[in-house]
């Protein structure tokens, strides 16, 4: 597969969340607003890309039996760096993400891509694959966050965009969208839409 294809595939046909079912764990809780979702998406992209790169460079020297531990150590070290950077530069977002930055370590996307791709491919394609998967994951995160922020608090990036006359006419923000269950239902609906567009993704 060419590098461009590697970069593009995770956006639709091989999306990590909706098709590969990876990395849902820490994703949903950060989608109440767009800003934390973008920060989270970028953090995951950085960690996926560099852990893919490092593990792929080391793939011939890692003994098969202890590879999980080696992978975890590499991932954890990268996540610590990301966490420290977030704390230093965007402290408020870092507080909002709370434990979910740390949970990138156990994000299944990382282990999944390392096992499925980086262990069997050269460093450069692995790096590209990491970026693609991180961004594909980020895309879903941002879509969900957009829908939840718009319907839940009527705003976009913290700015109110639903005009006042709509509220005067009786429109109300849907408080349920901010609560956890709607993240699940929103993702379920996105999967539904995606699969009705691409019918070969349908499970039997």
């Amino acid at each position: 597969m060419s590098n461009f294809k590697l970069l593009k595939a995770p956006f639709n046909m091989e999306n990590p969340i909706t098709v590969q079912v990876l990395g849902i764990c820490s994703a949903l809780a950060v989608t109440v607003q767009i800003k934390p979702a973008i920060v989270m998406a970028l953090s995951v992209t950085v960690v996926t890309a560099f852990s893919n790169l490092i593990i792929s460079a080391l793939r011939n020297t890692i003994p098969g039996r202890i590879r999980i531990i080696v992978q975890l150590v590499v991932i954890a070290a990268l996540v610590i760096i990301v966490d420290q950077l977030l704390k230093a530069y965007v402290y408020d977002v870092s507080k909002k993400l709370s434990v979910f930055v740390g949970l990138i370590i156990t994000n299944c996307i990382l282990m999944g891509r390392l096992e499925a791709f980086a262990m069997a491919n050269k460093p450069w394609p692995s790096f590209v694959d990491g970026i693609g998967n991180g961004l594909g994951y980020g895309l879903i995160l941002v879509i969900v966050a957009f829908i939840r922020e718009l319907l839940g608090s009527g705003s976009f990036f913290g700015h109110r965009i639903i005009p006042q006359w709509l509220y005067d006419a009786g429109y109300m923000d849907n408080g349920l969208m901010i609560l956890p269950p709607m993240a699940l239902i929103t993702i379920g609906t996105i999967i539904w839409l995606q699969r009705s567009k691409n019918r070969d993704l349908i499970e039997k």
């Binding site: 909706t18 079912v21 990876l22 990395g23 849902i24 764990c25 820490s26 994703a27 949903l28 809780a29 999980i68 531990i69 975890l72 150590v73 954890a76 070290a77 996540v79 610590i80 966490d83 420290q84 709370s98 434990v99 740390g102 949970l103 370590i105 156990t106 994000n107 299944c108 282990m111 609560l179 956890p180 269950p181 709607m182 993240a183 699940l184 239902i185 993702i187 379920g188 609906t189 999967i191 539904w192 839409l193 995606q194 699969r195 009705s196 019918r199 993704l201 349908i202 499970e203 039997k204």
Partner: protein, 205 residues
């Protein structure tokens, strides 16, 4: 005592690992095809949680926190190693899972047969690391609270996956729109279960 029991109930129903924080979703979706396997995984998660959460709490309180090394002498009183917590926590979890696997294999082969295949999966289950990080963030002050919280979270996870598996067994026979089959309906079902669990909100004992 009152607050520990309250914490326990809260962590099962209100702060449920799956429905409120989405932790452990990957294995939740992957291993919930039948009730039997989900019971196995649920027990394994609870078991590992009760062991790892207090250990991580001890490590955090006596080694990593700012000023935690005071017991070594006054020179160490302002050492802050908390930036190491991610790597130490995950190492403790991976090591404990490995240890638990070996001990269970030696002591109780039937239990090993039931849990064996799930144990390696658990090292990368977000719920385990999540509980360790929540314990650190909420600054629980004694081991009783940590035990109650981790046991409650495990039990909550167990309830969630077993209930979901039971629903999923029934869903197999229903007529779902084709694009929604499988993953889509699984998400929506979980969402509806989460709404049901929201009715516990505000309970105080």
């Amino acid at each position: 005592m009152d607050s520990i029991f309250n914490l326990f109930v809260r962590s099962i129903f209100i702060d449920n690992m799956i429905f409120a924080y989405f932790l452990g979703m990957c294995s939740f979706l992957a291993v919930s095809k039948t009730v039997k396997t989900s019971v196995g995984l649920g027990i394994a998660v609870t078991f590992v949680l009760i062991i790892t959460a207090p250990i991580n709490w001890f490590v955090d309180t006596y080694l990593l926190k700012e000023g935690a090394l005071k017991w070594l002498g006054p020179d160490y009183a302002d050492v802050d190693l908390s930036y190491l917590s991610f790597i130490i926590f995950i190492a403790v979890i991976a090591a404990m899972v490995q240890l638990v696997e070996m001990v269970v294999e030696k002591v109780s082969p039937p239990l090993y047969n039931a849990l064996g295949i799930f144990l390696p999966l658990i090292a990368v289950n977000c719920a385990i690391l999540g509980v360790a990080l929540f314990v650190q963030e909420r600054e629980y002050t004694n081991v009783g609270e940590v035990m109650a919280y981790s046991f409650g979270s495990g039990l909550g996870w167990f309830l969630a996956i077993v209930g979901f598996a039971a629903i999923r067994e029934k869903i197999k026979y229903s007529n779902i729109p084709a694009p929604l089959r499988g993953l889509g309906i699984a998400f929506i079902t979980t969402g509806l279960m989460a709404i049901a669990f929201m009715s516990f909100m505000g309970i105080k004992i």
